[in-house]
Structure formats: structure tokens, C-alpha cells
Symmetry: C2
Subunit: 244 residues, 2 copies
């Protein structure tokens, strides 16, 4: 399993992914799911991947190889909009499906994969897309300014309660880390370290990237503060009258 | 969809279920999912149901009809332990499967159902079981003193953070209501009103039952207090240094 989330803020993007991959409980490894395509000063595009690792690694590799191909072909370094970037990733997904889909089906394996495509290309605002296994995609909007893939449910309530498009970056980062903490507590197949990127609008270069382990003092203090804070809020709530 | 949760405390049981049933988004109705079998002073047994409504209603009806059948047959009014009570419900599930399983399969419909069986029979402590569609079942223990069925994920993190076997009833009720609020916010197929039962150990009769609507002042004040409290905790958390 996997958990990735992207948040589209006025101030920029907050992107995070876990790093656990597993094929059964006896085959667990660390694999990065955050992939950066950058031309500093001009574009910064990040892919966050979830699903079958063979599929998602193929999609990312195809996107990388296209950068070297003859001019004229659309790739993540020459497209003019994030919409086109999402199309490029969707087309890569369809290529992999064309190559592997039939064989996977014969083995009874779902073609399961999705990719968050987030970033900014000069001339546009930051944008955030979710590319599905079929290569089609949706875009986040200010009304619902986040997208999740993988094990999304445990970490969703806190995002729903806190995140708005106007939320500042620091609050969004705190919220994302709490969302990960909730997910990691509830699903053993999502695990540290967390790859976290903070992208500020119009910087057009890969922002601050952190790989957070359990020992990270900031992550630890957020987890502890949140856990203790929740208990305090709990105590302060009035006891329901029917409990008397 | 449905959400039901049962919590096994030293002080008793806290049980709750939503009341929404739907067959597609254009066929939405209210159906109770909390069913009480009681012999005051001797036993109090509650079934909470999730899954295909035709299956779960059949299971509950079979359990009711058995009460009238000839003596000698195990039913929920004569079994000597909650373990046997779970067996009775499991056997009813298997009867329904025998009657409907093949026809459902021919129509491509999963035989999907589960039942929480909670309560106390004189001579035992309160106990809590989850009966699966196959009629087999597991029991909650003091280490993990709760069971959920239906749309379980959104409401799980808050329970994982707060509930222990030693938690008092009032805190457990608050936690369950917050768990429902988180689920209802995230999944439109889970909805108010909530049926809530508070059972105190050794009372051996149906405890306080509440049907909570949006207008319930206590539920409203817990939702508001929680929402505002979370925001306050959020503000109090230190900004991550990498956000500077």
C-alpha cells in the first residue's frame, strides 16, 4: 500500500508520500514515490505514485526517457501547461497498459496505478492533477484543494476539517503530517520515512525536500503535541447528559 | 453503506449505528441497524448490522423467529453465553446464505453482510463479537476493545487514539460521536440519525437508547467543541522549521 497527498494552496503546493512498498507481508521494502522533473526558473513538476510498483516505475521511466527523445514530442520538459503535463503522464500510463495490461490480466492482477501530477510551469499558477490507471485525469480546484491516492481514508478526516485553499503552508504541512500519522497508525502497509516537499508559488524550482524518519524532532513534536492536544480537547468537551 | 461501532469497556458497552440505507444514489432510505434482544435481569443482547439489507434483515428475522420455536433449540433468549449467542447469529447467517447465496451469485451480487453481537448474559462479563458473512466470528479483547463494520476507516483514527478498555463511558460516547461525525463528513452514504446505546455492566437490561439527529443539542455541542478544539490545537503546534 501507499499513501500520497497533494495540497494546492494559494501560497504553493505541499506534497508528501510514504516510502513503503510491499508484495505480501513477507516482502517489504523502501521505494521512493516522489519523482521530480525540474527546469529551474521555468518549471517544477512532481509525480507522486501509488499502485502496482512495476506499473508506476514504468510510467516514471517512460516520462524520463521521453526527455531524451527527438524534439517535437511532448514531454515533461517541453509542455506549455500542467494540463499537458498530466496528458503526458496519462499517455505514459496507457503505453504501459498496452505493454503489460493483457499479461497482468492473464495472471489475475489488476492494472492498478495512479499518479498525482503537481507543479508549476512559468505563466501558469501551480496546479495539481490525479491521473488514473486509464490515463484520464481530474484537477484539484480551490473548492476541494487536495488530492489523495493509495490508502486515503484514515488520513482524510483531518484534511477535510482543516485544509482550505487559503490555508498557509505551515498549517498545511502540520495537517499533512498528522494525516500521515493517522494513516500509519491504522495501516501497517503505510510507513515512514515520509518524503515531503514544500513548493512556494513562482519559485519555479524544487522546493524544500525532507525525508522524515521517526527520529525527526519536528515530526516527533507535531505528533506528540497533536496527541496530547486531542486528549485535552476531549477532556474539555461536556459529558453528554445521557451518560449521567 | 453503513457505519456501526461497538466498544467494550470495563464499565460496559457503547454501541452505535447510523440509519442510512441505499441502493444507488437515487434510492436512499432510513433503516434501523440496531436490534435488541432482552430478558431484563437476565440478558441484554444487541445486534448491529451492516451489508446487504436483505441479508441482514433476514438474519435478524430468523433470530426473532427462533425465539418462538420449540424448546431445545438454541436461540438468543436461551443460550448460556455470548459465545453461543454469536454462534446462533452465525448459524442464521449460514441459513440465509444457503437460501439466497446461489441466487445472489447468479445475479453478480456479493453475499456481503456482517453483524456485531454485543451484550451480557448473567454470569458473564459483557462481550462483543463480529460475525462475518461466512458465519464465523471474532471477539473483541481488552487489548483492542472495539469492533467496527461498514464504512470503518474514516472513523478509526480517533478511536485508535482515544479508546482503551479502561476508558470511561462518557469519554467513549464522545469518541464514538466524533468518529461518526468524521465518517459522515467523508462519506455521504453514512448519515444521521445515529442510534446510540449505553449499556452499564451488570444492569442486564437495555440501557439508555438515543436516536440522535442533527438538532440534538448535545451532539451539536460535541461536534462544535471538537471542531473548535482541533483548530486551537492546530494553532498551538509549532510551525515546522522547514516551513520558515
Amino acid at each position: 500500500m501507499t499513501y500520497c497527498v497533494g495540497i494546492l494552496l494559494e501560497q504553493g503546493l505541499v506534497l508528501a508520500s510514504d516510502t513503503r512498498t510491499n508484495a505480501g507481508v513477507d516482502q517489504v521494502a523502501i521505494a521512493p514515490k516522489m519523482h521530480v522533473f525540474e527546469v529551474p526558473g521555468e518549471r517544477m513538476i512532481v509525480l507522486l505514485t501509488a499502485g502496482n510498483l512495476a506499473i508506476t516505475q514504468s510510467v516514471v521511466n517512460l516520462c524520463r526517457e521521453q526527455l531524451k527523445s527527438a524534439e517535437g514530442h511532448a514531454n515533461l520538459h517541453n509542455v506549455h501547461s500542467m494540463f499537458e503535463a498530466a496528458s503526458v503522464v496519462g499517455a505514459a500510463m496507457r503505453s504501459v497498459h498496452q505493454r503489460d495490461g493483457k499479461a497482468l490480466k492473464e495472471h489475475g492482477i489488476d492494472f492498478s496505478a495512479s499518479v498525482l501530477v503537481a507543479g508549476q510551469i512559468k505563466g501558469e499558477k501551480p496546479r495539481l492533477f490525479n491521473v488514473y490507471a486509464a490515463g484520464n485525469f481530474i484537477e484539484a480546484t480551490p473548492d476541494t484543494p487536495y488530492l489523495q491516492i493509495g490508502e486515503t481514508k484514515y488520513g482524510k478526516p483531518i484534511i477535510d476539517r482543516v485544509i482550505k485553499h487559503q490555508t498557509n503552508v505551515a498549517d498545511a504541512v502540520k495537517c499533512v503530517l498528522i494525516s500521515f500519522d493517522s494513516t500509519i497508525r491504522s495501516n501497517i502497509s503505510v510507513a515512514l520515512p515520509i518524503d515531503l516537499m514544500i513548493y512556494r508559488t513562482d519559485t519555479l524550482s524544487a522546493g524544500k525536500r525532507q525525508r522524515l524518519t521517526e527520529d525527526d524532532p519536528c515530526y516527533a513534536s507535531i505528533r506528540k503535541g497533536w496527541s496530547e492536544g486531542l486528549k485535552a480537547v476531549f477532556s474539555s468537551l461536556p459529558d453528554p447528559e445521557w451518560c449521567a
